[in-house]
């Protein structure tokens, strides 16, 4: 008798704790499609970010972190990319010049993956200026 209650209790517990899986079963959560359709990107001859796409996709946060240290602490303002091209290291003025569609680019993926970067509490988003 006592054992039966324990088993029922356990069963209820397991069902409750797996509710998110039951709830989401069969539904698919599509990966966001990032829009590269901005005037600055359309005007580029070769549609390539400062480093190759694969690297930028997985390492942009580390790149930005390195930029921050270089600009603020070391006084270096120019990034020489692997292909030799030079860029001003600035999230606001370099990254967002091309990716002026923050909502369809940055936010789309960050929202999907549940990441909340706090860049924008200080760095100015393009639309806020207008």
């Amino acid at each position: 008798m006592k054992n039966r209650n324990v088993i029922i209790g356990l069963a209820i517990f397991v069902v409750l704790i797996t509710i998110p899986f039951w709830y989401g079963a069969g539904k698919e959560s599509k990966a966001p499609e990032l829009s590269l359709d901005t005037p600055a990107i359309q005007a580029l001859d070769e549609k390539k970010c400062i480093e190759d796409t694969e690297f930028m996709r997985s390492n942009h946060m580390e790149l930005l972190n390195d930029w921050k240290v270089q600009v603020v602490r070391e006084g270096n303002r120019i990034y020489v990319a692997e292909d030799g091209k030079e860029y001003l290291m600035s999230l606001q003025n370099t990254c967002l010049e091309c990716h002026s569609n923050k909502e369809e680019f940055c936010d789309a993926c960050h929202d999907y993956s549940g990441v909340e970067p706090n860049c924008w509490t200080c760095h100015v988003e393009p639309e806020e200026v207008k």
Partner: protein, 254 residues
């Protein structure tokens, strides 16, 4: 299967190491590019400022307005929460050590520009627990706002009142946001940075540019031929609270 315990552990260990090697390589590889300063950058070993009080008198407001506009300094409107990078003050407030009861009226009523002194021996740098405030290679006392945790030790340590704390989100109080420079957020300390971001692209500090009569001289204290050193050699200058040993780098010609 004929495998000894010893051999199993060897192969297992090696496999784990091999699996860990790839992620480790990715972590250590870092950024593929390299870094360098802007070729237009103004360089100095030790930036300093000489303020010619008489020449600056008419440009005081313009200097402060230029600075605050460029750096997105908010105007909160409440003196208890005031944020300032540069401000106007009197002789008696700024030069406590030289103050006495019989100060002449002219000096008593004169307006002085006050700002961060970028001390050689800065108290704020010493007390900052996160190294958010630090001295850069060119002698500027800089702030890395990313690292500031808002403990306000630096505000307590600074004998010049040059630091302000953001008690609230400053954005609604900025009249027009300059998109070239970030704002700050709630819980962060801020102060004058000798326009490090402008020097880095070859521009003079904003206040120097706004002082049309040449009331502010800016240059390298370690270079005997610099404008700053020439001005210091040609005039008698005073400084704020020199007895504290902070060795401020803002000089006043009075």
């Amino acid at each position: 299967m004929d495998i000894s315990r010893r051999k199993f552990l060897k192969v297992g260990g090696a496999s784990i190491l091999a699996l860990g090697a790839l992620p480790l390589r990715n972590v250590l590889a870092g950024t593929p590019g390299s870094y360098k300063p802007d070729s237009k950058a103004k360089k100095a070993k030790n930036w300093a400022m000489v303020i010619d009080v008489n020449k600056l008198e008419d440009d005081l407001e313009a200097c402060i307005a230029a600075c605050h506009k460029i750096h997105n300094v908010p105007d909160i409107g409440n003196p208890k929460e005031e944020i300032k990078w540069a401000w106007i003050d009197t002789y008696e407030h700024l030069f406590l050590d030289n103050k006495h009861d019989y100060l002449d009226e002219e000096m008593k009523n004169k307006k002085f520009l006050a700002l961060c002194n970028h001390c050689e021996n800065a108290a704020c740098v010493r007390v900052c627990p996160t190294k958010a405030t630090f001295k850069n290679a060119e002698g500027i006392v800089m702030m890395d706002f990313h690292r500031c945790i808002g403990c306000r030790y630096c505000i307590a340590a600074c004998p010049y009142g040059a630091r302000s704390f953001n008690f609230r989100d400053p954005r609604p109080y900025i009249e027009e946001i300059n998109p070239e420079f970030p704002t700050r957020m709630k819980g962060v300390v801020e102060k004058c940075n000798f326009c490090a971001e402008r020097l880095a692209v070859g521009l003079q500090p904003a206040c120097v540019e706004a002082s049309k009569n040449g009331g502010i001289i800016f240059g390298d204290l370690d270079d005997p031929n610099s404008e700053v050193r020439k001005a210091l050699a040609a005039h008698h200058t005073i400084q704020r609270k020199t007895n504290l040993g902070t060795q401020p780098k803002v000089f006043y010609i009075v």
